[in-house]
Amino acid sequence: MKRIGNLFKKDIILGIKDVFILLELGFAVFIVLLLLFVIPENIEKDKTAYIYDATTLVKNFVHSTAESAEAQSRKGSYYVDSREEVIKGMEEDELAVGLIITEKKNGTYRVEFLTQPYTKNSIVQDVEVEMEDLMSILKPQGGIYPPDVYKSVKVNSLQQGLRDELPFNLRLLPTILMYMVGILGLFAMVSLIGQERSDATIRALRVSPASMWEFLISKHLLLLATGFATFSILYLPMMGFGGYPEALLLIILTILMGSSIGAILGGLFDNPIGAILWVLLLMIVLSLPAISLFSPSFSPQWLKLIPSYHTLFGLDAVMFPDNNRHIIWQGVSILAVIDVVLFALSGLIFNKLIRKEA
């Protein structure tokens, strides 16, 4: 224990001397200032659908309650007064589609769905079904469906009411924590081991009473301590102490996962440039779940195999409670199991490889 303490002290001193720790802390301060004072809390959302409803049936229905109008606005639906405005909107926003609803002389409706050239057929089919169903329900004098059609299906929901709108700068925080703190260990462990190797201090360690396990544990502790400080700088000014212990636990487990992988790479590659290429590759892979965080409808099962998925969604659940606390503990459990396996594996591989080198 004393030996680990001494190694840890040495690593801290070297970390400060090599400006690695100061760089991390300085950059965290810069980012938190950016989030607090530059990135706005509320942003005007890009429009995703321009609707011209000459019948006013759909428009009136949507605006019949404030909640429904708000839900449509959050989806990016925007009502305009002419076909020209629909097309103009679509020209300005290449992600937007258009919908034009007019009434025909025979009492039915003409629905024109204007798409972008890349819009998939499945979306067209979905809009067709949606509009046929909606107009069948909304047609004045009680719609056209007989009562048994309504009885064919019932809609239940686990929660009712719109979720509070989340501030934009806070929504970015889980991803920033993941990039800046979560994968800290991955980069830093590779560089710390590379440095020890080029300074030949790993060889010197072999004639000291400290073991390779103690050497590695000390490095993990350094990264956890740096991660703790960086995390606190980023989290506390944004969120206060709300959810701090749970978020800290998630981030610590993620750092440990990264530093264990870093230890394996550091052992495998005697040249840090070789290792860093794989680190960059892992960084891209670990970034993929962020797409699901910002676009929750995309959530395939295989994405959950990437550990950062659990960090991102765990942090999201901590910061934005919504009857979703079980996601935090699910994430903690999965990351803890991964950590135990990777920590043991990295120690064994590292020991074996370093012995071979010596």
């Binding site: 890349y118 509009m131 059609v149 929901s157 440095q195 070789g274 794989w278 892979v285 959530s299």
Partner: protein, 349 residues
Amino acid sequence: MKQLIEMFFFDVKMNFKSFMGAYMIIVPMVILIVLRTFLPSVQSAAGTFAIVTKGPNAVVDQELIESLDDFADIETYDSIKDMEQKLRGTGTAEGLYWDPAAQQYVSVRERSLKGDTIFSVASRYIRQLYYQKNYSDASRITEFLHGVPAELSDRTKTPPVATMGGSIFIVFMIIVTAFIIGLGVVMDKEYGTDKALRVSPLSKADYFIGKSIFPLFVMALYTIIALLMLGLMHVNILQVYLVVLSSFTISLLFGLLIGALGKNENEAIGIGKLLSMVLMLAILGGTLLPENLQWLVWWSPFYWIYDILEEIFTETATWGSIAWESAVMVGLTMLYFMLLRKKIIKGLS
């Protein structure tokens, strides 16, 4: 010139001797395979249905399941409890089961508007199928037309998410090449190679240019491979190469910065990591911020590269827009170089 070529061959030889050359070839290929596999799944489905398919609550109507499968991912569950657990978990999904007592389907949403018991994605399909089956004589209430307006017909058919892969990959290659140049310089400093080179006829410029040729070659080679693998060969390849070549100024700047500021690998990797974070921030800002707030990331050359590449891949770029945006990107890089010039020269001396 002779020294420069010799430096280039020396660099290539050293890279392959230490397996670095092989890693530089393998790692981008793995990234491309990841992007190639991942991106189609992002655009393939509009959502997820969690459907109970076993026991008394099983949904057995294949026609209904096939209709839903046409535009969303279907996940099957053994019980209502398992299905609801999926809904309470991460991601967005809609549940569906059969209620044998009420003889009706139950569509379960994670969250709905207060008092809404009618609208869900599955419910509209179910109502439509039921209505068509049991009231086959009834006519449609809507005449549905669809198409691309003439004003937008010259736009690309490539979806934005597919073009994202190309932009991400090229920006990634800029970072990789910057790391390779920077860490190469730091290692030469550590092993004293830089001192040995001082007594050789090689000038400093020859040394840095020679060290940059191989990464540039790898980047150029992988640009065409990326376009091929990501299905972007229809874009203007000349425009892509012009941007790739001009964006190499960022690789050089970052590489020199890493090499100059890092006294050892530890520092160099730390600096490189922070520079990668700057990259991520710019791309995050560029993709998540609405149009009116994009100016917040204008300071980053990465934003401009990402923006130009997006325009090229969506075939909306003109030579004029490429020229001015590339000029802004190179100008910003030069500005950062001028600001950091003293540090770079001192660090590399």
